[in-house]
């Protein structure tokens, strides 16, 4: 099994993921919850892209004269789709927050809890 230390960047993504999770769960302002969600998504995207990296590899674009090990194109394609999905969810969440603000006048989850 590879020694513990060299997957440091994976560890960083996990920490980022947990920070995002904490924001979603602990913060009461709905927009901050959404920010936490985006942080979690970015952490996962970064993790997947890094898993496709290869030592001193170049971008997987075949031009004339470009050689050397290519980074794996698959994670990059996955992340493009992932980003679009994340954008869509954020757009919908913001729309809902606007709707909640218009209906309840506040976007603090604690106050809203009573209003239900």
């Amino acid at each position: 099994m590879p020694s513990g230390l060299q997957n440091l960047d994976y560890a960083a993504f996990v920490v980022l993921f947990c920070i995002g999770l904490y924001m979603v769960l602990a913060r009461s302002n709905l927009v901050k919850k959404l920010l936490g969600l985006n942080i979690m998504e970015t952490a996962v995207f970064a993790f997947i892209v890094t898993s496709g990296m290869v030592d001193d590899g170049t971008a997987p674009i075949l031009g004339n004269g470009v050689a050397g090990p290519f980074a794996s194109p698959l994670p990059h394609a996955l992340i493009l789709t992932g980003i679009v999905v994340a954008v869509s969810i954020t757009a919908l969440a913001l729309a809902l927050i606007v709707e909640i603000h218009r209906q309840c006048g506040t976007i603090e989850a604690d106050e809203l809890k009573g209003a239900e």
Binding site: A11, F17, L21, D55, V84, A91
Partner: protein, 228 residues
């Protein structure tokens, strides 16, 4: 709360640590699919940019789903927020008045931004970029223009009727290309091998479809917020 999340983090850390080292060429990530795509991607799909090859050819179905997700986001926002046609606010939103300097600079730069965006969309096959990236740029530009020229208020940049067709451009082009691929190459979303130009043309059509679709959706989202 923090304790609970820390407790959740520990197994994640343990699992992630045991993963093969990122970057070492012997890792399984590069062995299977990636190796095949790198080796045969170009001649099988006709696109030098392998990421686009994966996106539009090998995993074209995912991208179809993804374009529909974006359309669904627009539909979702419309279902939640679309105001009634009658009460659309004709008077301009209470934004800050835009200084003529900004207006002049934007109008000056607009064509160049547009050109670059179109370039990114069309060159998606051979160089970094593609439908989504170009589409977003185009959308952003259109939004900027709507704000700057004040066209957003009395008459939207895009008539609603035309807008709804353009917004559906993404999924529709994909369906057409899929059926075309089915007719010519015998499998849904397949790229015909025989006429070399046909494959390039279909990829291009997909890129354009996605680009226009994305731009229209972003403009639609903005206009909708302003009440169109």
């Amino acid at each position: 709360m923090a304790l609970a999340i820390a407790a959740a983090a520990v197994p994640m850390l343990a699992g992630v640590m045991a993963l093969p080292r990122p970057g070492d060429p012997a890792a399984p990530v590069h062995a299977r699919v990636a190796a095949h795509v790198v080796a045969h991607g170009a001649e099988e799909t006709g696109a030098e940019n392998l990421v686009t090859a994966v996106l539009l050819a090998y995993r074209g179905y995912d991208t179809f789903g993804e374009v529909t997700v974006m359309f669904a986001a627009l539909a979702a926002v419309m279902t939640v927020l679309a105001p009634r046609p009658r009460e659309r606010s004709p008077e301009p939103a209470d934004g800050v008045a835009i200084s003529p300097v900004v207006v002049f600079v934007i109008r000056l730069l607009a064509p160049f931004i547009a050109a670059f965006a179109v370039l990114v969309v069309l060159r998606g096959n051979v160089s970094p970029g593609g439908g989504f990236q170009g589409g977003v740029m185009l959308g952003a530009l259109l939004v900027l223009l709507s704000v700057v020229t004040g066209r957003g208020n009395e008459r939207p940049l895009l008539e609603p009727r035309l807008a709804s067709w353009l917004q559906a451009a993404g999924p529709l082009t994909f369906t057409l290309v899929a059926l075309l691929g089915f007719a010519t190459a015998g499998a849904v979303l397949a790229l015909p091998a025989d006429p070399a130009w046909a494959r390039g043309a279909m990829l291009l059509a997909l890129e354009l479809g996605i680009g226009v679709g994305t731009a229209a959706i972003i403009l639609g989202l903005f206009l909708q917020m302003r009440g169109w």
